[in-house]
């Protein structure tokens, strides 16, 4: 999700190419080419400029609706209904080939789905399979203490910095409760999936959300060559 305004000019983007399975967009105003995953202009008059990232979530509709009952949802274009991705599209894509050459000793297979986090110039890939088993995951990245949470829908993933007023918190999930409820070990306050303390001493406090990109390992690695991979028990 990007701010479409660059140097005071609102740009109009079109899908216009592909670069190693990540698409290129072209802006009408200058004709520059932009790489989707990095938001960087790679060709044309604006080459080197970067779009400003706008924080967004990837959530299940059910969770989103609960948090944003007054929000609006993009309608499908009825003329294109047959072209939209099928319900099992992720499984289909999983079978597609990968053209980026894979190095030896890759820790994950190319189309392994990961939650990618980048903070303070450090990047880490959290294999989603592992997150589903372990959520919430407490970790540190680039000097920032993080918590990675999977929602009760087992699909939505959020990452927060777990610092509140200079204190670093540890969390555990209360088992078998819906909606998801987290408790911090320091104060016993209860937190919801939006990173907000809903009861206890810290009521009203909000954890700072961290952008997370659900991506294939090969694509994440291509744009974050220095990335590490989360392994349980290793911080």
């Amino acid at each position: 999700m990007w701010d479409a305004t660059v140097d005071g000019r609102r740009l109009t983007f079109h899908l216009s190419g592909i670069n190693n399975q990540n698409f290129i967009m072209r802006d009408e105003e200058t004709g520059s080419w932009w790489q989707q995953v990095s938001g960087e202009a790679i060709q044309g008059p604006l080459k080197g400029k970067k779009l400003t990232q706008v924080f967004h979530d990837e959530l299940s509709f059910g969770l989103w609706k609960r948090e944003q009952p007054r929000g609006r949802v993009l309608k499908p274009d009825p003329a294109l209904a047959a072209k939209y991705a099928a319900e099992d599209w992720e499984r289909q894509i999983d079978q597609m080939k990968v053209v980026v050459p894979a190095a030896n000793n890759e820790p994950l297979r190319p189309r392994e789905l990961i939650a990618g986090v980048r903070i303070n110039n450090a990047a880490k890939a959290y294999p989603i399979k592992g997150l589903l088993e372990q959520s919430p995951v407490i970790d540190d990245l680039g000097g920032a203490p993080l918590i990675i949470i999977v929602g009760e829908d087992r699909k939505s993933i959020r990452v927060f910095e777990r610092n509140v007023d200079g204190r670093t918190l540890e969390f555990y999930a209360r088992p078998g409760i819906e909606p998801l409820q987290l408790v911090d070990s320091q104060t016993g306050s209860q937190w919801d999936f939006s990173g907000k303390a809903v009861s206890g001493q810290l009521t009203g406090k909000q954890l700072v959300p961290v952008p997370v990109l659900k991506d294939f390992w090969f694509d994440w690695k291509l744009y974050n060559p220095q990335t590490s991979v989360y392994a349980p028990g290793v911080r």
Binding site: E58, Q68, L74, K75, P101
Partner: protein, 170 residues
């Protein structure tokens, strides 16, 4: 008589060489980038740079090629008999198609854009299931969601949320 015959033969040859060179230039200008940035192929930085260069030149290059090819074609027509004239037609067609293709965005044929996106309120959105994923954004008190199954097709949608112009990409 001899001189005139030689002269007319050379003239034909030059005209044909120029004409076919134009056909080749027009075709190559549009074909190379389409081939280099084809899906399911590995791309190199230099290939992407060459594609950008050719794509940005192709509207002008193919326009010049088409006009010149028509002018040369008229002259060749007057010099040629039936077979020569018939051969002009597919060659001119190649230049015309190149001229047209240079003005197309074939990625938007594959993935139609959504220039005027429509929205439903969260409660009224019957077209989406609770378990379907959305990309969600909340800015300045306004909240919008873009279903991933639609985004995986369109790849990009532009919107204005909380007075911020956005491009949602997937």
């Amino acid at each position: 008589m001899n001189v005139k015959k030689t002269f007319s033969f050379r003239n034909r040859g030059i005209n044909w060489s120029l004409f076919l060179t134009l056909v080749l230039i027009a075709a190559v200008t549009v074909f190379i980038p389409a081939w280099l940035i084809m899906p399911f192929k590995a791309q190199s930085a230099s290939g992407v740079a060459l594609s950008y260069f050719l794509k940005s030149m192709s509207p002008v290059v193919t326009a010049i090629a088409l006009l010149s090819a028509i002018a040369l074609g008229v002259r060749i027509w007057s010099l040629e008999r039936l077979i020569g004239r018939v051969m002009l037609i597919p060659a001119l067609l190649v230049v015309t198609v190149s001229f047209w293709f240079a003005r197309q965005n074939h990625f938007e044929w594959m993935f139609n854009p959504l220039p005027n996106p429509g929205f439903a309120t969260a409660g009224e959105a019957g077209f989406i299931k609770d378990s379907d994923m959305v990309m969600a954004v909340a800015l300045n008190g306004e909240s919008a969601a873009y279903p991933v199954r639609q985004m995986a097709y369109h790849h990009l949608v532009q919107d204005r949320v909380g007075a911020v112009d956005l491009v949602a990409t997937y």
